[in-house]
């Protein structure tokens, strides 16, 4: 009896590959503790190794793009906007190993690394676009500090503490400006109490945690100006934040 023809290799746009890629992207975002949510841009490659009846190992190479949603945001990934090229896009490359057993997917291993679009490429399409800056740049740190102090001095909401700086961009002409995005958390103080002694203000315990996100833009030249917008997400059961360096990769 002629052997059954070999199965055609799974295509990267086949529904089965897309379903596995979507499962992998949700896993990656669900296990990330810092930065932003990533969305699927392209399935670069897929390889299936059969382990037996209804038991396959799938190797995916995924090309992701950073969205504007911080990882602590409750916004569903489908509603998160992919950062545009002129916003200095960030790409993620992930290799994911999954098992499909009796139709059920599980991730066995994943490895990702991200990198920003090259400044040269961005300046080619947008000569005046601000470029991503290092998160420990002194102007960036000064802008985040000024923005958070400005918010805490004006708000009747709880006093907010900085969790992490998500991204920062600096523009030098035609004006000199710094724009920053950072994650914050509510503390057990009101802003008024914090004026007395902010040192006693602690982050709320896990079962009451309230994370948020701020964007700020500081004009340095031709004149000083600062605009800040902070939004708290409200308590999200089970959502925690681990200080950088504490979480497992």
């Amino acid at each position: 009896v002629p052997a059954a023809p070999p199965l055609a290799p799974l295509g990267c746009d086949d529904p089965e590959a897309e379903a596995a890629a979507e499962f992998a992207v949700n896993y990656i975002n669900g296990h990330s503790h810092h930065g932003y949510k990533f969305a699927l841009n392209r399935v670069d490659n897929v390889r299936v190794v059969s382990q037996g009846l209804n038991n396959d190992i799938m190797f995916l190479e995924l090309d992701l793009l950073e969205t504007t949603c911080h990882i602590l945001s409750p916004t569903p990934l489908a509603n998160c906007t992919v950062r545009s090229l002129t916003q200095h896009a960030v790409e993620g490359d992930c290799d994911v190993k999954l098992q499909k057993l009796d139709g059920k997917l599980s991730v066995l291993a994943s490895k990702c690394h991200s990198h920003a679009d090259s400044s040269e490429d961005l300046l080619q399409i947008c000569p005046d676009c601000p470029l991503l800056a290092s998160l420990n740049n002194t102007e960036v740190l000064a802008t985040v500090t000024a923005a958070l102090n400005h918010h805490n001095s004006k708000t009747t909401d709880p006093y907010l503490r900085l969790l992490e700086i998500g991204r920062a961009r600096i523009q030098y002409h035609p004006v000199h400006s710094v724009s920053v995005e950072f994650a914050v958390a509510a503390t057990n103080c009101s802003a008024g109490e914090a004026k007395e002694n902010a040192g006693v203000c602690q982050l709320l315990p896990e079962d009451q945690s309230n994370f948020g996100f701020c964007t700020a833009s500081r004009l340095i030249r031709p004149s000083e100006d600062l605009s800040v917008d902070c939004q708290l997400y409200g308590h999200q059961p089970g959502v925690t934040y681990s200080q950088p360096g504490q979480d497992t990769s």
Binding site: G11, C12, D13, N41, R42, V43, D44, A89
Partner: protein, 38 residues
């Protein structure tokens, strides 16, 4: 004597005739780009 046909001629004859307008299927990978390429 066996006359060896020219390879080109043989290849021509052996080539499976393709219907007019035949478009080869796209390669299975990489897949489509959903947003843009960096």
């Amino acid at each position: 004597p066996v006359a060896k046909r020219a390879v080109a001629e043989a290849a021509q004859h052996d080539k499976v005739p393709r219907p007019v307008g035949f478009v080869p299927p796209p390669p299975p990978c990489p897949g489509k780009i959903r947003h843009f390429r960096i």
